[in-house]
Structures are given as structure tokens and as C-alpha cells.
């Protein structure tokens, strides 16, 4: 039942997306004097998504189990889920992404690595500092010097 609830939710999500795309496509021109115009292909695509999502939805309501990916856990045992880690990483990602340019690589990256390694992944302070320092130096040399990627200087400008 739990698996079918996930199937149902996933199918509903994509069905909704397909319908949304269809509505947006209908607002565009579908056909011109010479043939199809900008709305035609997206509408066709929306139709494909809606029909396929409906099939998945019906199967999940039916209780039948579709052939699913064989993504067995890479290590033995079942997979225990920890949504709090997902939220932690999501917030960290958002802050890192948003602050990278205004604050700068040299400041933001050590902060991100410290919080991620020490507080999310619960590594020791020694390990956190060593890995953080090594990563920043290596990535700075690799990206900025070797590959010529300009890293944002932010507040150090």
C-alpha cells in the first residue's frame, strides 16, 4: 500500500504538470498558414505526459505493481529514511548557491563545508577542518588556476 501511495503521488504530480503544460500550450498559436507553429509541439508533448501519467495513475489505483527499477540498496539491508537530512542539505544548498557570488568562494565554501561535515554529517572537528582546507585549496587550484574558471571574489573584491 505504501508503495502504491508513492506511485499515486508521483503519477498525480506528473499528470498535473502535463495538464498545466497543455493549458499553457493552448494559449500559444498551434497552426499557421504554412503548418504548425510554436504551440503545436508542446501540446503534443503535454498529451503524451497526460496519457502516460494516467496509465501509471490507473495502475497505482488498481493496486498492480509496475515493473520498477532495480535500484536495490547498494549495501545490504533496507533503506531507513531521514527527511531531516534532506531538509538540512536543501537549506544548505540554497544558502551556498545564493551567497556564492555576493559573499565569494573563499568565504562561503569553508562555511558550507564546516556546517555540512560537522553538523549534518557529524564528523569530528579535526576531520572537518582538514577536509575543508584540503578541498578548498585543491578546488581553487584546479578550477581557478588549471581550468581558468573565474571563482567569485564577492566581499574580497
Amino acid at each position: 500500500m505504501i508503495k502504491n501511495r508513492k506511485e499515486l503521488l508521483g503519477a498525480a504530480l506528473f499528470l498535473g504538470s502535463g495538464l498545466f503544460l497543455g493549458i499553457l500550450s493552448l494559449r500559444l498559436h498551434l497552426w499557421g498558414r504554412l503548418g504548425p507553429t510554436e504551440g503545436f509541439f508542446p501540446l503534443l508533448t503535454a498529451g503524451v505526459i497526460v496519457v502516460a501519467s494516467l496509465v501509471v495513475l490507473v495502475r497505482s489505483l488498481d493496486g498492480s505493481r509496475p515493473r520498477s527499477e532495480t535500484r536495490e540498496p547498494l549495501q545490504g539491508g533496507g533503506r531507513s529514511e531521514s527527511p531531516s537530512r534532506v531538509w538540512s542539505y536543501s537549506f544548505l544548498l540554497l544558502f551556498y548557491g545564493l551567497l556564492l557570488e555576493p559573499v565569494g568562494f573563499i568565504i562561503v565554501t569553508p562555511c558550507f563545508l564546516t556546517v555540512a561535515l560537522r553538523f549534518v554529517e557529524r564528523q569530528s572537528w579535526r576531520r572537518t577542518v582538514l577536509i575543508g582546507l584540503a578541498s578548498i585549496v585543491i578546488s581553487y587550484l584546479l578550477f581557478s588556476r588549471f581550468l581558468g574558471v573565474p571563482l567569485p571574489r564577492g566581499l574580497l573584491e
Binding site: E7, P73, G97, V149
Partner: protein
């Protein structure tokens, strides 16, 4: 062909390209060793960095990563029974058993040598077949291209992993994402919601890094995956332990030869690639073996054949991309992305307009195979240590690389935000059990498919019969219909047989 090969080697053996090939093989092997991370997220993460390189160098490095990752996955499959990459799952069956018997080094050695031989074979065939096929491709017009793209997407959906309706949904989502930006025929804005950023469409690098990099990290974070150091069954202590003996070579020779041919041919098929090649080879070797009962218990043929097949498939996979412009699997879709980012459309004109690119890539694949052999055989002990690095340390580092990579595309924080959004999508896709491969392929093929359909319908004044009246297009459409309806026909026939059987069993009144 000899002149072209000389040109190719001249390009591939330049110091910078050699260094990039070496770097690609090394990075690919290191990343391929890490379970869950394979060539796809690695190439996705490093794609933005290839902006700074010229096209030939970029493809050389990405190709090195591809076959480096194949071998990296083999190391963990054999020594830990943890497949580092999907196509190396098969090596777990007999390779791990060989490791338990103290023959892990031989398994790794035969995998390395078999991969080298198969890769060499694949490279030669690529050089021979691609120019011929590109001439055929020049006969393709818009209806043929539309039909071919559709066939490619159909094959990916039906031959890929997971449920078919879900794969179709993913294909649809990929096509939908490809429509964001400007319409390819009239240049009209679509689904940009007034954003200047979206007018250029979605960037393949942010999509790939988001779905395969960030999405995977979030999924691993949710699962609390924190590999502890596993006892490695056997570590090869010296070079001698890696070299198979005469008997093992004799038993491996034909599996390597068969694997090379099978792998190359299967690699050409969209949706096929290394995964199909390795499983196909294993099944074939077991069937042909005089002692099939030994398979699963440490038969060296069970490692030699599949490992050769998956490496030959990497060469075969380049054929549709370099001749028809169609990526046959997700990795090739990302490589196609690299071409597009450099302003070159992969397809039949590559050999004619950019011969140094094509022949440079062919020659670099041969050089890459030598580098892999030289690199991996003595460094296996070092690579094995990398397996012991827990995800708790790797995850933040991968995030850092992805974010820097995304930012470096255009020095635009919107690319980072875009990647994070796709990361969320990738995570949800993993949660709901949707395979990302059809999405990425459809995203790459979408603009070509749309343009081909539009042009076809303009030529035919709106009539869809154009797809059925041109010979090549008609054959391709027939193949699509066969792919779609043959499983349904098979199921209907089985149901009839079952009903017929149950009626015969009913007692007579």
C-alpha cells in the same frame, strides 16, 4: 583511412590532449569506483569545465571519463560485490567469487586486458563504419530525422530500466523542458514567464548536474547512507597477481572476442549501451560454455566476456552520435551537449567539416585504452583505498563541485538556482522510482525532433502522410510500430494460449 588516422593520432598525441585523456581516465576511474556515482554524474559535473577547452579536447576528456568509470566500477564489483556502475553488475556474479577464492587480482587483470582488447577492436570498427554510415545519413531529410528521433526515444523507453509508462512520462518531461525558450522555427518565446534567463532555454549542464548530481546526493542523504569501511576480500599485492596464467588466457580468449563484437553492436542501439552489452555477453557465454554450472561460482569467462562487451559498447555508442547526431544513451546525450555548447551540431557532417575532431576522438579512444591499462593495473591498490571514503565526506564535496561547476557556466547565479531546482526534481524522480535517462535523451533530441516535424509538415502542407510515403521514413515508422505493438501482441497471444489450455482441461459433460 590511414591518412585520417595519422591526422587523428597527430591530434590525440599532442601534449595537452594526452594530459586531458590521462586526467579523464584517472577521474573516471576514481569516480567509477564510488558506488552510485558513474560516468553520468561525473560527466554532468565536469561538463561546464569543458567550456574552457576546445571541442576535440573536451570530447577526449569526456570519453576518458566514460571508459575510466567503466573500469572503476569493475574494481568495486569484483572486490566488494558492490557494482560501481550499472554495467558492472554482472562482474559481481563471478568476479566476486574469484576474489573469495583468492583470485581477485586475476579477475581485475583479465577485466583490464579484456577491456583493452575490446576497446581497441571497437575503435577500429568505429573508424571503419562511421564514415560509411555518415554517407547514408546524408540521404536523410526532415521526415527521416523525425522518424529516427522517435525510434531512438522509443528504443530508450522500451529497452531501458523501469516501467514503460513511467519512461514515457520522463521522455515527455524531457521534450517539454526542451521547448522552454525560443521556438526553433519562428523564434517566438515560449514558457519564459518574462524571464530573460529562460529565453536561452535550459542549459544541459545544469539539468544534468541537478538531476544526477544534486538529486542523487539528496537521495543518499535521505537514506542516511554512510558506508563503513568494508573488509576487502583480497587486495592484489603485486603485478604478478594481476596477470592471468596461460590456462586463464586460453579460457578467456573467445569470450573476449565474442564480447567485443556483441558489445560494439549493442552499443550502437539507442537504449542499449554498456548495460545491455554486459548482460547480453554473460548470458551468451553461459549458454556457449561446456560447463555452464560453473558460472556464478568464479568462472573467468563470466568476467572476461562482459567486461570486454561493456568497453566495446562505449566505442559503439559513439557511432549514432557522430554519424546521425543521435545520442544512444545518457552519456552520449551529455557528450552531444558538449558538442552543442561548443557550437557544433553532431551529425553526418562532422566527418566532413571537422575531420580533426572526428579522427582525433577515434585516435584518442585507442590512446585512452592504453592509458587505462597502464594506469589501472599498477594503481589498483591505490584505487581500492578510495572505496573506504564514506559518503558523509563525499556528499558535501560533490555538492561543492556541482555548485562551482554550475556557476562557472556563465558566472550567473541563476544557473546555480536552475541546477538546484533540477536537483529537487531529480530527488523526487528517485523517490517515485522514475528513471532519468529518457528525460535527458528526450531533452537533447527534442529540438531536433520538433524542427524535423515542423519542416516535414511544412513540406507536406500539413499532411502527416509524408512520414509514410518516403521509403526510409516508412521503414523507421514500421520499426517504431513493431516495437510498440509486439509486446502487446505477445501478451494477447499468451492470454489466448492460456485460455485455450484451460478450456482443453475442462472435463467433458
Amino acid at each position: 583511412m590511414l591518412d585520417n588516422l595519422i591526422l587523428g593520432f597527430h591530434v590525440a598525441l599532442s601534449f595537452s590532449n594526452l594530459a586531458l585523456c590521462f586526467l579523464g581516465c584517472l577521474l573516471g576511474t576514481v569516480i567509477g569506483i564510488l558506488p552510485g556515482l558513474g560516468p553520468v554524474p561525473t560527466i554532468a559535473m565536469l561538463l561546464p569545465l569543458t567550456y574552457k577547452l576546445d571541442l576535440t579536447s573536451a570530447i577526449i576528456m569526456l570519453s576518458g571519463i566514460y571508459y575510466g568509470a567503466q573500469y572503476g566500477g569493475t574494481i568495486t564489483s569484483i572486490l566488494l560485490k558492490i557494482p560501481g556502475e550499472a554495467s558492472t553488475i554482472v562482474s559481481c556474479f563471478d568476479g566476486y567469487q574469484m576474489a573469495l577464492q583468492g583470485r581477485g587480482g586475476k579477475a581485475l587483470g583479465i577485466a583490464a586486458f579484456g577491456s583493452f582488447i575490446a576497446g581497441t577492436f571497437g575503435t577500429i570498427f568505429l573508424g571503419l563504419l562511421a564514415p560509411v554510415l555518415s554517407q547514408v545519413a546524408l540521404m536523410f531529410g526532415p521526415p527521416e530525422y523525425a522518424a529516427l528521433m522517435t525510434l531512438g526515444l522509443t528504443l530508450v523507453v522500451y529497452l531501458g530500466r523501469g516501467s514503460v509508462p513511467k519512461a514515457i512520462v520522463m521522455g515527455g518531461v524531457g521534450l517539454a523542458l526542451s521547448t522552454i525558450g525560443m521556438d526553433p522555427m519562428d523564434g517566438m518565446e515560449r514558457f519564459t514567464f518574462g524571464s530573460i534567463y529562460l529565453m536561452d532555454g535550459i542549459n544541459i549542464a545544469t539539468l544534468g548536474m541537478g538531476i544526477f548530481g544534486i538529486g542523487e546526493i539528496l537521495y543518499m542523504a535521505e537514506g542516511g547512507e554512510n558506508r563503513s569501511a568494508r573488509d576487502i576480500v583480497t587486495r592484489p599485492r603485486n603485478m604478478k597477481e594481476l596477470l592471468p596464467d596461460k590456462n586463464e588466457w586460453r579460457r578467456s580468449a573467445m569470450p573476449i572476442a565474442r564480447g567485443s563484437i556483441t558489445g560494439f553492436l549493442l552499443g550502437i542501439l539507442p537504449g542499449g549501451g554498456a548495460l545491455l552489452a554486459s548482460f547480453g555477453s554473460y548470458a551468451m557465454e553461459k549458454k556457449l560454455s561446456r560447463h555452464p554450472e560453473k558460472f556464478g561460482g568464479g568462472a573467468i569467462e563470466g568476467v572476461a566476456g562482459p567486461e570486454s562487451a561493456n568497453n566495446a559498447a562505449t566505442s559503439g555508442a559513439f557511432i549514432p552520435l557522430l554519424t546521425l547526431g543521435i545520442p544512444s544513451n545518457v552519456v552520449m546525450a551529455l557528450v552531444a551537449g558538449a558538442f552543442i555548447l561548443h557550437g557544433v551540431i553532431p551529425g553526418p557532417l562532422i566527418i566532413k567539416d571537422h575531420p580533426q575532431v572526428f579522427w582525433g576522438i577515434v585516435a584518442s579512444m585507442y590512446v585512452g585504452n592504453i592509458i587505462l591499462l597502464v594506469l589501472n593495473v599498477p594503481l589498483i591498490r591505490l584505487f581500492v583505498k578510495i572505496i573506504e571514503v564514506p559518503y558523509a565526506i563525499l556528499s558535501p564535496l560533490i555538492i561543492m563541485i556541482c555548485i562551482i561547476g554550475a556557476f562557472s557556466i556563465n558566472n550567473n547565479p541563476m544557473d546555480v538556482l536552475s541546477m538546484l531546482i533540477f536537483g529537487g526534481l531529480g530527488f523526487l524522480m528517485r523517490k517515485f522510482d522514475y528513471d532519468a535517462a529518457p528525460l535527458l535523451l528526450a531533452f537533447i533530441l527534442g529540438p531536433i525532433l520538433e524542427k524535423s516535424i515542423y519542416q516535414s509538415l511544412v513540406i507536406s502542407h500539413g499532411s502527416p502522410l509524408i512520414f509514410f510515403t518516403r521509403r526510409i521514413s516508412m521503414c523507421l515508422v514500421a520499426a517504431i510500430l513493431l516495437m510498440i505493438f509486439s509486446p502487446l501482441f505477445g501478451r494477447w497471444r499468451n492470454r489466448r494460449r492460456a485460455r485455450g489450455g484451460s478450456m482443453q482441461e475442462k472435463p467433458l459433460a
